[in-house]
C-alpha cells in the first residue's frame, strides 16, 4: 500500500513554460496536450469502473436494479466472510498500533540515528510479498496456530508495517514530539500520562490514518487468506464468482467504494495534519 500526501500535488505550481512573450503560444499548445493526456487517462480509468457499476446495478434480465446489492448480505457465506474479515482487521489494527506506536515514538525520541534502520526494516515486507510469505508460514507455523484464522492476522501486521510506520512517523514529525514531551515531563507528567494526554490526542489524524490503511489492507488481502484456507471477504467474492456475476460485482464494487471512502479519509486527514504543521511552531 502506498500513499502520498496530497500536498505534493500542489507544490511548484510553475513547472510549466514561463511567462515569456513567446511562452504564450507555447503555453496554449501545452494546455491542449495536457487536456488530451488527462482525458485519455480519465477514460482508461473510468471505463472499467463504469462497467463494474453497470454490472452490479443490473439484475439477471439486464434491467437497472439494486437487486444485487440487496441480496448480497443474505447470500450464503457472505456474513460469515464479512465478519471474519472484520474480526481479523480489528485484531490486526489493534496489534499493529500496540506494537508500532511505542516503537515509532521511541525511535523518534531516543534513537534518531535508528531512522535509516527503521526505514530499511519497513521496506522488508515489500521484499517478502504475501505469496512468498504464506509458503514459509504454512510450513513453519505450529499446528495450534494454523487452526486459527488469527495466524493470518499476525502476518497482516507485518504486511501493514511499512505504511503504518510511515503514517505514524509523519504524524510525529508534524507535532515536534521532543518539545511536547519535554514540556510535559518538566511539568511533572509521568510517561503514561504524557503518552495518553499529550501525545495521543495530537496523533489522532495519524492514528486514524494508520488504522484505515490497515483495515483497507486486510479487507483486500486475498493471497494469504486463500492459500491458508480461510474464507475472508475477498476469498468469498472469488469463490462466489462461479455462481452469479452480478452479485459478485456488487460485492467487488462495495469493497471498492468502501476502500475509496477509507482512503479519502486518509488523504483528508493528511491534509489537516499538514495544515496543523504550518500553523503551529517553526518549520
Amino acid at each position: 500500500m502506498v500513499t502520498v500526501g496530497e500536498s505534493y500535488f500542489f507544490e511548484n505550481e510553475e513547472v510549466g513554460p514561463g511567462e515569456t512573450p513567446v511562452g504564450r503560444r507555447r503555453r496554449k499548445k501545452f494546455r491542449v496536450w495536457r487536456l488530451v493526456v488527462l482525458v485519455i487517462a480519465a477514460l482508461f480509468f473510468l471505463a472499467p469502473l463504469y462497467a463494474g457499476f453497470k454490472f452490479a446495478l443490473q439484475n439477471d434480465s439486464g434491467k437497472f436494479s439494486f437487486w444485487a446489492f440487496t441480496t448480497l448480505p443474505s447470500e450464503q457465506g457472505f456474513s460469515g466472510a464479512f465478519f471474519l474479515s472484520m474480526r481479523l482487521a480489528l485484531f490486526t489494527a489493534l496489534v499493529e498500533l500496540i506494537l508500532m506506536v511505542p516503537t515509532a515514538i521511541f525511535v523518534h525520541l531516543r534513537l534518531p540515528k535508528f531512522r535509516p534502520v527503521m526505514d530499511f526494516v519497513t521496506i522488508l515486507p515489500i521484499v517478502v510479498p504475501p505469496i512468498v510469505l504464506i509458503v514459509g508460514v504454512l510450513g513453519s507455523a505450529p499446528l495450534f496456530l494454523k487452526e486459527s484464522p488469527y495466524l493470518l492476522s499476525i502476518f497482516y501486521v507485518v504486511l501493514a508495517m511499512p505504511f503504518v510506520y510511515r503514517s505514524l512517523d509523519a504524524g510525529l514529525s508534524a507535532i515536534d514530539l521532543r518539545t511536547l514531551v519535554e514540556a510535559s515531563r518538566s511539568l511533572g507528567g509521568s510517561w503514561i500520562r504524557t503518552l495518553w494526554s499529550v501525545i495521543m490526542p495530537n496523533l489522532r489524524a495519524a492514528l486514524l490514518s494508520a488504522t484505515a490503511l490497515t483495515l483497507a489492507l486486510v479487507f483486500g488481502e486475498y493471497t494469504m487468506a486463500n492459500l491458508d484456507g480461510w474464507t475472508t471477504m475477498p476469498v468469498w467474492i472469488a469463490q462466489f464468482q462461479q455462481s452469479d456475476a452480478h452479485v459478485t460485482l456488487a460485492a467487488a464494487m462495495a469493497l471498492l467504494v468502501g476502500t475509496w471512502l477509507l482512503l479519502s479519509l486518509i488523504v483528508a486527514l493528511d491534509r489537516s495534519q499538514s495544515r496543523k504543521r504550518r500553523k503551529v511552531g517553526t518549520q
Binding site: 500535488f9 510549466g16 517478502v128 486475498y222 475477498p234 479519502s264
Partner: protein, 272 residues
C-alpha cells in the same frame, strides 16, 4: 524497541529461514540441489522468464506514461483536479487484486463485457482482433490499471522538487524548453524515475491475486506456480519446488529493492 524487533524478526525471519532451508530439501527431508535444478529448467524457468518479462513490461510502460500523466496533473491550475487525483491514485494503486479482475471481466469480457459490447457496435471488438483478456497480455493490461497510479504517486514529489529557478537559470543561459529538459530536467528526475520503475517492477513481480483469479492459473508465472504447490496442484516428487521458486523470488526482489534504495538516495541528494 525490543518487542518490535522480536516481532518483526520472528514474523519475517521464521518463514524466510524455513523457505531457504526447504529449498534445499526433498520432501523426505534430505539435502538436495534437485529443487534448484528443477527451477532453472523447463516449466519453472519459463515461469520465471514470464514473470520477469511481465514485470518489465508493466514497469517500464506505465513508468514512462506515469511521468507524463503526473506532469500533466502537477502543472494543472485546478485544485479540484489535484485533490481528486491524489485520492484516486491512492485508491487505484492499492486496488485489491480480485476486485480488479472482476471489474475488468465486467468491462472487457468476451461476450458480455460492457466495453466489449460498446466497441462491437462500432466494429472495433478487440476480441476479433486477437485480444484475449485471459492470456499474458491481458494480465499485463490489467496490471497497468494499478501500476500507472503507483508511478504517479511515486514521481509526483520528485516533479514538485524541480525548482523553478533551475528552469529560469537555464532560460537565462539561452536554453530552449527542450534543451532545459534534456540537460537539466530529465537528468535530475532520472534517479526518481528509475526508482519508480524499480518499485513498479517489484510490485508487479510479487503480484499473485490478480493473475490467479483472472487466468485461473493458466498463465505460467512464478507466483502462480508457488500457489499451485500450496493448493496441492503440484506434481508429486517435486513438492518442495515451491520453496525454491519462493527463494528465487526473494532474491529477485531483494536485488530490485537494493537498487531502488540506491536510486532513492541519489534522488534525495539532488532534489533537496
Amino acid at each position: 524497541m525490543a518487542p518490535f524487533f522480536i516481532y518483526t524478526g520472528v514474523g519475517l525471519g521464521v518463514p524466510i529461514v524455513y523457505i531457504i532451508r526447504n529449498a534445499f530439501l526433498t520432501f523426505q527431508g534430505k539435502f538436495t540441489f534437485s529443487n534448484l535444478d528443477l527451477l532453472v529448467h523447463g516449466i519453472y524457468l519459463k515461469g520465471f522468464e514470464n514473470s520477469l518479462l511481465l514485470s518489465a513490461i508493466t514497469a517500464i510502460i506505465p513508468g514512462i506514461l506515469g511521468v507524463f500523466l503526473a506532469y500533466a496533473i502537477v502543472t494543472s491550475n485546478s485544485a479540484v483536479l489535484k485533490r481528486m487525483v491524489a485520492t484516486a491514485s491512492a485508491v487505484l494503486a492499492n486496488f485489491g487484486g480480485i476486485n480488479l479482475t472482476f471489474i475488468f471481466i465486467a468491462a472487457l469480457g468476451e461476450g458480455t463485457g460492457v466495453i466489449t459490447v460498446l466497441l462491437n457496435h462500432i466494429g472495433l471488438n478487440p476480441w476479433n482482433h486477437g485480444f484475449d483478456l485471459y492470456n499474458f497480455y491481458g494480465v499485463a493490461l490489467v496490471y497497468f490499471y494499478f501500476q500507472l497510479p503507483l508511478m504517479v504517486l511515486v514521481i509526483t514529489p520528485a516533479l514538485g522538487g524541480l525548482r523553478q529557478s533551475w528552469r529560469e537559470a537555464a532560460q537565462n543561459m539561452g536554453a530552449s524548453n527542450w534543451r532545459y529538459w534534456r540537460h537539466v530536467g530529465i537528468p535530475v528526475l532520472m534517479p526518481s524515475i528509475l526508482g519508480g520503475v524499480l518499485l513498479l517492477f517489484g510490485s508487479s513481480f510479487a503480484a499473485y491475486a490478480t493473475a490467479q483469479t483472472l487466468t485461473l492459473g493458466t498463465v505460467t508465472l512464478s507466483p502462480i506456480q508457488i500457489g499451485d504447490t500450496v493448493s496441492g496442484n503440484a506434481i508429486a516428487g517435486e513438492a518442495n519446488i515451491g520453496f525454491a521458486i519462493a527463494l528465487g523470488m526473494l532474491i529477485v526482489l531483494s536485488i530490485t529493492m537494493l537498487f531502488y534504495g540506491l536510486a532513492r538516495r541519489k534522488a534525495s541528494k539532488w532534489l533537496r
